[in-house]
Symmetry: C2
Subunit: 203 residues, 2 copies
């Protein structure tokens, strides 16, 4: 049975394209991206989805209360029979209503080794802090910012001559790699969650 | 000219022994450990220093105000003409008086990838958080806990079957490696500090 993914984005959606490439290449087996949703008009990710013949919808969030907006998004995802929701540069916190609709079925990727450098401009934060390792994190999503149990992380060195751009690019390559790996792991159900700790299981 | 190091510890001082081994092996060139100080009676590190014929002194901190105690320690370090102070499991914050006496000349090692998991039991914190990478950090010391510009870090994977003991041991091997590297770098003066960022220089 093909597993149906939904992707939420607010902008470029480079991680959406990486997931779509992985689906096309069979690195995420037995899956398809069924729908892409943006909360912002003009998000380039929407055009890129359409160019791939993936259903894509803008649901403007502006002026709506969080849950009222989320109910529209959840309805659309359910209409498309989505089993796993992947956030890809989605600039909104989810309501408890949304989280409850997809228990342990919403993933996000964040460009830092959480719990270090949550929030915006993580790569810049890491450089300014003087960290010697940066990285990225795929985690289950709950109502809190960049929280939820961690599925995979990747670490990359920070170089003395790094700029925000060069560090971001090095991290982005790892983001694309581990996001596909994490989606595959979660779709296969080969994990368990103990407290905050996610570990692999054989079955 | 041989550079003179002082080591402060409160317990076992495994990082003291790693530094002493590196000095003996020439991995930290042109240096000697001139004195080891413990704030606690019975710290095993003191006996180990004496077994290596290194001057070792206990200055009990109990009941003393922070600066009154630090003045005794600084006086002892100055008496031994110490140029660089290395904390090795030293369970005290330093007073501004101490920090000012050795500007950018006090190092500490912490068993996490700071700014993640400061304080006690970092390895346990990392496991309970579900981090997939842990590590260690050598940093300059200021008056705050586990703060100060970072000189070197090392990242190690957290495995699904890790316990606090197995993770701590994997990190400890990296601690011993990077602490010696960082001491060598600082003694050679081949670094600059820009904001919080420590980078290498040629001279």
């Amino acid at each position: 049975m093909t597993k149906r993914l939904g992707v939420l984005l607010s902008g470029r959606g480079s991680n959406f394209e990486a997931l779509a490439d992985s689906v096309d290449a069979g690195r995420i087996p037995d899956a398809e991206i069924s729908v892409v949703v943006s909360n912002r008009e003009g998000a380039p990710g929407i055009e890129r989805a359409r160019a791939r013949n993936i259903a894509a919808r803008v649901i403007p969030s502006k002026g709506l209360e969080r849950e009222a907006f989320d109910r529209q998004v959840v309805a659309l995802l359910q209409e498309h029979r989505v089993e796993l929701v992947c956030l890809a540069g989605y600039m909104r916190l989810l309501s408890p209503y949304f989280v409850a609709a997809f228990p342990n079925r919403i993933l996000n990727i964040h460009p830092s080794l959480l719990p270090a450098f949550p929030g915006l401009e993580s790569q810049k934060q890491a450089l300014e802090y003087g960290a010697k390792f940066a990285g990225c994190t795929v985690h289950f999503v709950d109502e809190n910012l960049d929280a939820g149990p961690i599925i995979l992380q990747a670490a990359v060195p920070v170089r003395d001559d790094d700029t925000e751009a060069s560090l971001s690019q090095r991290i982005l390559r790892e983001e694309h790699r581990i996001y596909s790996e994490a989606v595959t792991l979660v779709l296969a159900g080969k994990f368990k969650i103990t407290g905050r700790r996610v570990t692999r299981t054989e079955t």
